[in-house]
């Protein structure tokens, strides 16, 4: 099996036979990165942009991203919108309910550092990264759908660069 490991990590077709050889890791991670299902978790203004991204013009589905209503079926939380102190424990609970491997995208200024509510607000959690680990930050208030799409492409890249052995360690 050592030879398979040495083969380059892209598909190769042998002449005459319909056989492709690649590493299991590549296949799995390719598949995983192209079917990231996200949890429908919108709290505030950014949720509208998330909706637009899912709708006709921007079409999230072409990245293989389909929304799910329950955390058990999703791989990704796109935290779209302000997380207040009252909401923070709920976000944590949703994150805990998801199965590994799971990812978090912080969409918008609010989820990064409180955004427009950094000053003078007594109720807003200033950044979600001390509640859940964040993989991708997308700045903006709200970020445009294009930035969200780009963020998701970066996430896919990140998934593809993982090692299967990483999974076991978690």
């Amino acid at each position: 099996m050592g030879i398979i490991k040495k083969l380059p990590a892209h598909l190769e077709k042998f002449p005459g036979g319909g056989i492709a050889v690649t590493s299991l890791e590549t296949i799995l991670l390719q598949g995983q990165s192209k079917s990231v299902w996200y949890l429908l978790f919108g709290t505030a203004c950014c949720a509208i942009e998330l909706m637009c991204t899912g709708a006709s013009r921007y079409d999230f589905d072409r990245l293989g991203m389909i929304f799910r209503a329950t955390p058990r079926q999703s791989d990704l939380i796109i935290a779209a919108g302000t997380i207040t102190k009252k909401m923070a424990p709920r976000l944590r609970r949703l994150y805990d309910q998801m199965a590994e491997p799971r990812y978090v995208i912080a969409m918008g200024g609010c989820t990064i550092k409180g955004g427009p509510f950094y000053y003078d607000s007594y109720a807003v959690e200033k950044g979600i990264d001390h509640i859940v680990p964040v993989d991708i930050y997308i700045p903006g208030c709200p970020p445009r759908p294009e930035s969200l799409l780009e963020g998701c492409i970066h996430l896919q890249e990140k998934i593809r660069q993982q090692k299967l052995s990483d999974w076991q360690e978690k």
Binding site: A44, T82, T84, P116, D120, V124
Partner: protein, 367 residues
């Protein structure tokens, strides 16, 4: 046979539930499949906008109001600007008023298109969602070419508007409203006679007019119950009294009427926009207002009709450059408050329909 023991039980809905349009939690007391009591729990999106406004100058408050009701952010800008203008006695140039009306009505259409899509999606139809948001993009493009933002515009300022519209705006706007007028028949065709839709909405969640008025319900929800009350006509602001239009009113007060009335409002808005585009005068777009202006001490409650009802802002000024108090009042706040009184005695699936057709968005409730 021994008698069966029955008891009421509680179901928790939210705060993360796809049908609550945000983060509202409802504690439902159920008797079998029927809801007997609803207790809304809010505050999951309480961002202290009012406190923030107290520490900003009037000009800096406008972006904050964008986040108050982001689906129709223009009307929040408008109501704050209007309140500040009334406090300081600022006259707005006529061209600015026309631009404001055009933007407000376009924003109303955009909001109702979201309503159309999201409500249908909550009740299990995905196509209207794609249709509604497709046409909304045409409107968002118009906003983007005027003020550079898709959602939080910061366009209507104290004393006028931020920028003049670009040259291409008017033809593009005509194009957009023509497309929407044309697509209206698609929207109606998809749902108006759809048997599933009718079963899910007709006769469900009837809100009596008296109850609505008592609890402060306003806007399309109240008009769907037969109360002919529209702030644009009854407490005219800006230049709404110059146009020929009339508020849509329906009589039954059920979910279906609440849905129909939104489609009718889109048509009325289109009518207003057409007239406003025609009458758009040349001239200034902003009165001279210093960014740190200090209105004299006093207080004012200004209100506009936005797509969810009465949107009001109370400002008290002590003569300084920052307001002493800003109180925001949103239509959804009262709609959600009234929900427990007419939303009971139905199934949870019906509650989803009622909640969706009330068109509640949570930042307006929690602020």
């Amino acid at each position: 046979m021994p008698e069966l023991r029955t008891e009421e039980f509680q179901v928790n809905m939210g705060p993360h539930h796809p049908a609550t349009h945000g983060v509202c939690r409802m504690i439902l007391t159920m008797d079998g499949e029927k809801i007997v009591k609803i207790e809304p729990v809010i505050g999951y999106l309480h961002r202290a906008l009012e406190k923030i406004c107290e520490n900003r100058t009037y000009a800096q408050c406008i972006p904050v109001t964008d986040r108050f009701e982001y689906v129709t952010a223009m009307s929040c800008n408008q109501v704050f600007a209007m309140a500040a203008e009334r406090l300081a006695g600022i006259e707005v140039p006529e061209r600015a008023e026309y631009l404001r009306v055009i933007m407000l009505e376009l924003n109303r259409i955009a909001s109702h298109l979201i309503f159309y899509g999201v409500t249908a999606m909550d009740l299990g139809a995905l196509t209207p969602f794609l249709y509604g948001l497709r046409e909304r993009e045409a409107i968002i493009d118009l906003f983007e070419m005027t003020c550079g933002q898709r959602l939080t515009y910061n366009y209507i300022r104290v004393g006028g508007v931020a920028k003049d519209i670009p040259k291409e705006f008017i033809p593009k706007c005509h194009e957009a409203i023509d497309v929407i007028t044309e697509k209206m028949s698609d929207y109606e065709g998809l749902l108006n006679e759809n048997p599933i839709w009718l079963v899910r909405t007709k006769g469900i969640g009837v809100m009596p007019a008296k109850l609505g008025i008592d609890y402060g319900v306003s806007g399309p929800v109240l008009r769907a119950s037969g109360v002919d009350y529209d702030i644009r006509r009854d407490d005219p602001y800006s230049i709404y009294d110059k146009f020929d239009w009339k508020p849509a009113v329906h009589q039954n007060g059920d979910c279906f009427d609440r849905y129909l009335i939104r489609l009718d409002e889109i048509k009325q808005s289109i009518k207003i926009i057409k007239q406003a585009l025609e009458g758009l005068p040349e001239g200034d777009i902003k009165a001279k207002v210093s960014p740190n202006f200090k209105p004299p001490a006093g207080e004012v409650y200004a209100r506009v009709e936005n797509s969810r009802g009465e949107l009001g802002i109370y400002i008290q000024s002590d003569g300084g450059k920052k307001p002493l108090r800003v109180k925001m009042r949103g239509g959804s706040y009262c709609q959600l408050q009234a929900l427990p009184y007419f939303g009971t005695n139905c199934f949870i699936a019906d509650l989803v329909a009622i909640f969706a057709t009330l068109d509640i968005i949570l930042p307006e409730v929690d602020r």
